[in-house]
């Protein structure tokens, strides 16, 4: 088994693993989607009643969106996560909530204007800011205000999509497209467009791969003069993250997580008396 990173940026990764089975590839895909810990807002307290600013102007707290919707939108905001944080039910505070397992946020915004995710102020952990600062939460009229405190805690994507780090997780087998130069004349333009996708070339034929995500090459299968070969032992994965964790860290965690979970299963087996 070998792994090769084909493309890596803070929010995107493309990599190849050789000599694994489809079920192992799928286990990795499912882990990437639903088993990575991440911080998300889980409890929101919204102030009801009049809100006054320092000049004594009165603002109302009845808004265009229901409280539930505001809470849901706040929960969906991706927060920069430190994987060293504890899950609340495994924390030393025994589920009461402490700085090791909870980040508290506040929003204090007076209308008119739009409450954005950048208005979320972390109170006890300055690094846990939203990774996307341009998400609109709700719009406020000139006599409306939003006063909120919220608690964020760790969770996994299998429980709720607000804890889902990666999106667009997919894999496919490595494919090679061999073009007969005499029968398929468009190979020159493909070669110019995707020079990195060329694997081998000789006088009669040229071989491309679509591992880099070049959809135009993929769409050539079935055309005259094109022969497609699949390698069932090489899997090409790709995924993107929402910025709460760097893609490479997500990958690293998921590869450690799979044996961890399998060991949980092994440990839970008992020999009958």
């Amino acid at each position: 088994m070998a792994m090769k990173i084909l493309e890596s940026s803070p929010r995107f990764a493309r990599f190849e693993i050789t000599d694994i089975t489809t079920s192992e590839a799928n286990a990795l895909r499912r882990t990437l989607i639903g088993d990575i810990p991440k911080l998300a807002i889980d409890k929101v307290s919204i102030h009801h009643g009049q809100i006054r600013d320092k000049d004594g102007n009165v603002f109302g707290s009845s808004l265009a969106l229901f409280d539930e919707m505001i809470a849901q939108r706040l929960a969906m905001v991706p927060l920069v996560t430190d994987l060293k944080m504890n899950f609340r039910d495994e924390c030393t505070c025994e589920g009461k909530g402490c700085t090791l397992c909870t980040v508290t946020y506040s929003i204090n915004k007076l209308g008119p204007g739009t409450v954005m995710s950048s208005d979320l102020q972390p109170l006890n952990n300055p690094s846990a800011v939203p990774s996307d600062l341009d998400i609109p939460i709700v719009k406020l009229r000139k006599d409306q205000a939003l006063l909120v405190t919220a608690d964020a805690m760790m969770g996994r994507g299998s429980l709720h999509s607000k804890w889902q780090v990666s999106s667009g997780v997919s894999y496919k087998v490595h494919r090679e497209f061999t073009f007969q130069k005499s029968a398929f004349h468009r190979w020159t333009s493909l070669k110019e467009k995707y020079p990195n996708a060329v694997l081998t070339e000789n006088k009669e034929r040229i071989t491309f791969t679509d591992d880099n995500g070049d959809g135009e090459i993929t769409s050539m299968s079935g055309e005259k003069g094109v022969e497609v070969t699949e390698d069932q032992n090489r899997y090409v994965f790709k995924f993107e993250t929402d910025g709460s964790l760097p893609a490479i860290e997500v990958l690293d965690y998921s590869l450690k997580r799979i044996p961890q979970r399998l060991n949980t299963l092994l440990d839970s087996l008992v020999t009958p008396d």
């Binding site: 009845s62 808004l63 265009a64 969106l65 939108r73 969906m76 905001v77 991706p78 995710s117 996307d132 600062l133 341009d134 998400i135 609109p136 709700v138 719009k139 009229r141 409306q144 994507g157 999509s161 889902q164 999106s167 667009g168 993107e240 929402d242 910025g243």
Partner: protein, 72 residues
């Protein structure tokens, strides 16, 4: 109402791209208020919204919150 924070299907954050999309499309409107399909396609690609689940979130959005606000 207001643009959902994440794509319903895949979970990508799309709310922050909606404003950029509307601003860019607004610039390329012709006199009769229409936008060339090719420009819409290119704008979405440039914003990194590649999958059709995320694209429909943006394209099918009816931003009605400004009409609701007077009644809240």
């Amino acid at each position: 109402m207001i643009i959902p924070v994440r794509c319903f299907s895949c979970g990508k954050v799309i709310a922050s791209d909606y404003r950029k999309f509307v601003a860019k499309i607004g610039e390329s409107k012709t006199a009769d208020g229409k936008v060339d399909q090719k420009i819409v396609e290119k704008t979405l690609d440039e914003l990194g919204i590649k999958r059709y689940c995320c694209r429909r979130m943006i394209l099918s959005q009816a931003d009605l919150i400004d009409e609701i606000i007077p009644f809240s």
